[in-house]
């Protein structure tokens, strides 16, 4: 476990900023305590300073997970967001998409969101903007990337994809073993 290098931090922040923009600041500089990002086995964990201290009691190879996993760095050194970060990103999300209850299941099975399943969308969403997907009951379901801008969304036919699937809470079950 080590702190992220500058490069890694940058990669990660770039990814996070797609979803929460400058609200990353609120994650880094929290009023309720010191929180930090740590890299462990290519995964980025977000934890409080207290937990960080506790982890010193464990050897690296025995430690599976600590704090909240935000995502992992791929072999190509790209950052991939995990669904476990949803709890931290959803409150700060700038652009949101609400899916209709009928399309919820589809999304939770890992499919993209179609226009027919799109219930509501934040205005001025740009294309390829990271969005947090909500159910109509405002339960965060996952992340996505807007395939179309808001204006385009109004035009397109019902079967076209409007949000690309990135991560969903269904992964808690589907990829239980890899999700730490």
């Amino acid at each position: 476990m080590r702190p992220l290098t500058e490069e890694e931090t940058k990669t990660m922040f770039e990814k996070l900023s797609k979803y929460i923009g400058e609200n990353i600041k609120l994650l880094v500089d929290r009023p309720d305590g010191t929180y930090c990002f740590r890299l462990h086995q290519d995964r980025v964990y977000y934890m409080s300073e207290k937990i960080l201290k506790l982890t010193t009691n464990f050897s690296r190879d025995k430690l599976i997970s600590v704090g909240t996993c935000f995502g992992k760095f791929t072999k190509t050194k790209k950052f991939r967001l995990h669904i476990t970060a949803l709890d931290f990103l959803a409150p700060y999300a700038k652009f949101k998409v609400w899916v209709k209850p009928g399309a919820e299941q589809s999304f939770l099975y890992g499919n993209h969101v179609l226009k027919s399943g799109l219930g509501r969308i934040t205005e001025n969403t740009m294309q390829y903007q990271g969005v947090v997907v909500y159910s109509m009951a405002d339960v965060p379901l996952g992340f996505g990337v807007a395939a179309k801008s808001t204006q385009e969304c109004r035009r397109v036919d019902p079967m076209s994809i409007v949000v690309f699937h990135q991560a969903d809470v269904g992964e808690f079950i589907r990829s239980e073993d890899t999700l730490t």
Partner: protein
């Protein structure tokens, strides 16, 4: 190629958008006769044209066309490169043509027509007119026509031979319509005349200057950020459009365009399902067909179009095409009910008891939004619900006009096309014609979605009832009392909705209070839950089931009247509602008959609203107060329905009361819980005052910029504190600097800023050092150690903290955080000047200056006691203090005289050296070394007291003196939890120093009142000569020793003598006592 001779249709692309029709016409005139120019402009979202092209109908010969192509194609004209191609024929032209062909084809089959004519002739002989034979017994054959019988209601129908399925023995079955129910469609072909002409296929939205009609025509105002919910209101608003569009165009035009082949070949009489004639189609079709058959209706309507059209019509059509296209597009936009919300859209709440809002594909946003206002923590833009209500109202009124009955049918088809959001609007209209649609709706919603929202079902259901009631009254006018009809038509639907809204909210609130988990989407699960909470919802679930049954068995009319009565009952019940009675098990409700359940449903609608309306209003005090609205509308309803109220059977009444009581109890409980919740909320809010939740994010201070804002915000607090300042100031002694005080009062923000600038420098161990350093220079302005010295302070701090073990990690984290923020800044490209360091400082600043008193915080108790103390101090006490302060100089006076008198003589020679130097203390190292043996504090105090009287006075008074006395209690100063011990010491030190210096200042002031130039030092200033003397001994060391020895010897003698005396006395006392005892 079309059938208009040499007429060709050309596509001309690449036009400038300023090109007019006339321009084009002139340009093409020389090649042939231009019949028509059709100019199209494509615009993007902002309305900026980006593409312009034209279709030109031109009478042109082949050679001319070629010439035209060569000349004009790819030529430049008005800033665009023309592109000319032969265009496809307009679809309307083709349509007309194909119809023409079909008509021709039709003529060939005139033999069959003749045959049919013969049949009709024979019928007319037998007295059959328009397929009905009057005064004929059902079942009798039509004379002269084999296989035609008179069925029920005098209609002539054929006896059918139906081929059986393979399994059965008989090959055919004879179907005699007279023996069966009247549920067959007429299998007749349309007359060709009945089809619509091509002209009627397209449409145009009527003009009008208002916003809505402009939108309908596709003319949008310049883009502006859409408010949340705005798009939601659109479907409701444009219902009229919907109906018109649907009726005339959507179906026909669209189908004609896309299903054209079907129309040209689809005249097979055997397969064509006939609908009724155009005139009564709208009403009758719906009785014959269920909603599910609507697609066939589409087809039927489409086949009814006329085959013959005049060219003029077509021409006019072509002219109108553009607008129709635009409108179509707009239409398409309207039907997709995509909701776009602003950036500030608030998520209702993450995961707590939201299952109520968890609506299915069909569940409308309307209800969602309506449910929102009652829940206090959930904020919402307030206007939309009201807007929607008004929309619905309008809609309802429109619907009730009898002429619009036809409009309702197409809207039901809309419903099928877009199953979601617009539903509420459409549902009402679909209700208007037949109840079966209702039933089907219910069936759909309950069947199709496992995750259907139960309360939504409930609400939707009740909606149907109300509205269909109104419509039924209209339909069966003669049977319903006229008073009721007139009263209910416009309003029955609306109050019902209000009432229902109220009925939902208690459920929701209760559910949320009980804290049931929100994650399950299973309907049954939910249903159980809701059952547990209230009986009302239970009743409705049964209600839906029973209603379906009844609808299948009963005639619609009857049921409607029942409901009507029930509604009246429900209202009466509502009046009885408050009388307390024994609790009743909700399960008994389920066993009662369907009629009763309907009643219950009605009462369930009304009752909770009445019982909880008051608290609802309390809750919604800040909100747009839909509660009050609803209550008023309820009253209206009551008034309206009062006349037809029916007397109740005693038993029923009892039941009602029981139910009402139950509901009342539930409401009471709920209110209690609400109150608790409210309390909790307030507590939570108060606890979080200083540290706002991260979601709001607005009040968190990250930079020094924000800090200023903060100060402004808290200026009110400072205002309140100011008297405190002044009170403390006055007793602090003779006021030397009234002006500065006044300044303080006036521009206190700036002053505060400057004041608090100093503080962080003296923070921490490094700060202490700095403070020490500063103290060496006295309080001279010129040697003030300010932020420039902070640099080495930081270094020092770092080194100091390296030594401290546990602090190391934190520092590293801090560094990391800083780094992260800088990276973030680079990533975002915006200035994120918030580093944790400054944030911490800002926090401390805030603690001192912008202290926000919070009674719920423990740390603030210190502050609290402080303020109380200040309040307790009466004027007398203050006066006393002042007197003390004024006495004090006298005490020090003596000391002064004592010392100075001797010093002058002894240390005359040192004065010359020290007089040049500005600071006395630093100038005289010898004196320092002599004095430094003692405690540091005392040294400092001595120094200020003895030596730098004037200078100390000069500086301290100006900057710190006003605050000094007030700051005596260090607790007050460090109400923040993070203050360190060192700081406390520091402050004490400072306070002491300043006290002493102030005292000294007073002394010196009294001593040297005649000094005119207080703030200046000239080289021959006598003060500089006098001052250093104070540091030095006034006598030689030997002298002092001698003196001391003398004194000690005398003192010793004195002491011994006294001791002896005392012992003697003691002895004598014992003796006397002993004698007494003996």
């Amino acid at each position: 190629f079309c059938g208009f001779g040499a007429m060709r249709r050309l596509y001309v692309g690449g036009l400038n958008h300023t090109v007019t029709q006339k321009d084009l016409k002139d340009r093409f005139e020389k090649f042939g006769e231009v019949l028509d120019v059709e100019l199209r402009t494509r615009k993007d979202e902002e309305g900026i044209p980006y593409k312009t092209f034209a279709y030109i109908n031109i009478n042109i010969s082949e050679a001319d066309l070629k010439k035209c192509m060569t000349v004009l194609n790819k030529s430049k004209w008005k800033g665009g490169t023309l592109q000319i191609e032969a265009a496809k024929e307009s679809f309307l032209h083709r349509l007309a043509q194909e119809r023409q062909q079909a008509a021709d084809h039709h003529l060939q089959r005139s033999t069959t027509e003749a045959k049919k004519q013969k049949l009709l002739d024979s019928w007319s002989k037998a007295g059959v007119q328009n397929f009905t034979m009057k005064a004929a017994v059902p079942g009798s054959e039509v004379p002269g026509c084999k296989d035609w019988v008179v069925s029920k209601f005098g209609r002539v129908l054929p006896v059918l031979q139906l081929r059986c399925q393979k399994g059965s023995k008989a090959r055919t079955v004879k179907y005699d319509p007279s023996k069966y129910c009247h549920n067959i469609r007429r299998l007749d072909r349309t007359d060709p005349d009945e089809t619509l002409s091509v002209t009627q296929l397209t449409w145009q939205v009527e003009g009008g200057d208002d916003d809505i009609s402009k939108r309908r025509r596709g003319e949008f105002p310049p883009y502006e950020p859409i408010k949340p919910k705005k798009s939601r209101t659109d479907p409701g608003d444009s219902l009229n459009t919907f109906s018109r569009i649907r009726n005339s165009c959507w179906r026909m035009l669209r189908k004609n365009v896309f299903m054209f082949p079907a129309t040209c070949h689809g005249y097979d009489p055997a397969t064509t399902v006939r609908s009724e004639q155009n005139s009564d189609r709208n009403t009758e079709v719906h009785q014959l067909t269920n909603g599910s058959d609507l697609p066939t209706n589409h087809r039927a309507a489409q086949r009814e179009e006329s085959d013959v059209d005049s060219d003029e019509e077509i021409r006019s059509l072509v002219a109108a095409q553009q607008s129709s296209h635009d409108a179509l597009q707009q239409e398409a936009e309207d039907i997709d009910n995509l909701e776009v919300v602003g950036l500030d859209y608030l998520v209702k709440s993450g995961s707590k008891g939201d299952e109520e809002d968890y609506d299915s594909a069909g569940t409308d946003e309307l209800f969602e939004s309506r449910r929102k206002p009652p829940a206090p923590p959930q904020e919402k833009p307030s206007s939309p619900p009201a807007q929607q209500f008004s929309d619905q109202k309008r809609q309802m009124k429109r619907k009730t006009t009898p002429g619009d009955v036809s409009s309702s049918k197409p809207s039901s088809s809309v419903q099928r096309e877009n199953p979601a959001g617009v539903r509420p609007a459409i549902k009402h209209s679909s209700d208007s014609h037949s109840d079966q649609d209702d039933e089907e709706e219910e069936g759909n919603s309950s069947d199709s979605s496992s995750d259907f929202d139960f309360p939504a079902l409930f609400s939707a259901n009740s909606n149907y009832l109300r509205i269909s009631l109104a419509d039924l009254q209209r339909l069966a006018e003669s049977k319903v009392p006229s008073i009721l009809r007139s009263g209910l038509k416009p309003e029955s639907g609306l109050p019902g909705r209000h009432a229902r809204k109220e009925a939902i909210t208690p459920n929701e609130i209760l559910a949320s209070i009980l804290g049931e988990d929100s994650s399950d989407d299973d309907k049954e699960h939910k249903k159980k839950k809701v059952e547990g909470v209230t009986s009302a919802s239970l009743q409705t679930s049964e209600e839906t089931a029973t209603q379906r049954e009844t609808s299948q068995t009963d005639g619609r009319l009857r049921r409607k009247r029942e409901q009507e009565q029930d509604e009246a009952l429900g209202i009466q019940r509502q009046k009885h509602g408050e009388t307390p009675e024994a609790l009743r098990d909700p399960q008994t409700d389920s066993s009662s008959g369907s009629e009763e359940e309907e009643e219950e449903m009605m009462s369930a609608e009304d009752q909770p609203s009445s019982s909880s309306s008051s608290e609802e209003q309390e809750q919604q005090a800040g909100a747009p107060a839909p509660g009050s609205k609803s209550s008023s509308s309820e009253e209206e309803e009551e008034e309206e329905e009062a006349p037809p109220r029916v007397a109740l059977a005693a038993k029923e009444e009892e039941e009602l009361q029981r139910k009402a009581n139950m509901r009342r109890l539930a409401a009471l409980q709920q209110r209690q819980k609400e109150a608790e919740e409210h309390k909790k909320l307030i507590q939570g809010a108060l606890a979080n005052l200083d540290a706002p939740p991260p979601t709001t994010g607005k009040r968190i201070v990250f930079g020094s910029d924000d800090e200023e804002e903060k100060q402004e915000v808290v200026s009110a607090v400072e205002e309140s504190k100011k008297p405190l300042f002044q009170e403390r100031l006055k007793p602090s002694g003779p006021r030397l600097f009234d002006d500065s005080e006044d300044d303080d009062e006036e521009g206190d923000e700036e002053e505060d800023g400057s004041r608090f600038d100093i503080r962080p420098e003296f923070e921490g161990p490094a700060g202490q050092k700095l403070m020490e350093l500063q103290s060496r220079f006295g309080t001279d302005e010129r040697f003030r150690l300010d932020s420039r010295f902070l640099e080495d302070e930081e270094e020092e701090e770092e080194t100091a903290e390296v030594q401290k073990g546990p602090m190391e990690d934190e520092e590293a984290l801090e560094e990391e955080k800083k780094k992260n923020l800088s990276i973030l800044q680079s990533v975002l490209g915006t200035s994120q000047q918030a580093s944790s360091k400054t944030a911490r400082k800002a926090k401390q600043f805030r603690d001192v200056s912008a202290l926000h008193y919070d009674p719920s915080k423990e740390e603030h108790t210190a502050f609290e006691t402080k303020t109380e103390e200040t309040k307790k101090e009466s004027k007398a006490a203050r006066r006393k203090k002042r007197e003390e302060a004024q006495k004090l100089p006298e005490v020090s006076k003596e000391i002064y005289f004592q010392v100075s008198g001797d010093l002058k003589a002894v240390f005359g020679q040192t004065n010359d050296g020290s007089a040049v130097l500005p600071s006395l203390l630093s100038a005289d190292p010898s004196s320092k070394s002599e004095e430094s043996s003692g405690f540091r504090f005392s040294f400092f105090g001595d120094e200020s007291a003895a030596g730098s009287g004037e200078t100390a006075e000069y500086k301290t008074e100006k900057i710190q003196a006003p605050k000094v006395s007030w700051h005596q209690d260090p607790r007050f100063h460090d109400s923040s939890s993070e203050d360190e011990l060192e700081e406390d010491e520091e402050e004490e030190e400072q306070v002491k120093k300043e006290q002493q210096s102030s005292v000294e200042a007073k002394n010196t002031k009294e001593e040297t009142p005649s000094q005119p130039d207080f703030f200046f030092f000239s080289s021959d200033d006598h003060r500089l000569k006098e001052g250093p003397r104070l540091f030095c001994r006034t006598s030689q060391l030997e002298e002092q020793r001698e003196e001391w020895e003398e004194r000690t010897s005398t003192l010793r003698q004195e002491y011994r003598k006294k001791h002896r005396d005392a012992q003697r006395k003691l002895k004598s006392a014992r003796k006397t006592r002993g004698s007494w005892e003996v």
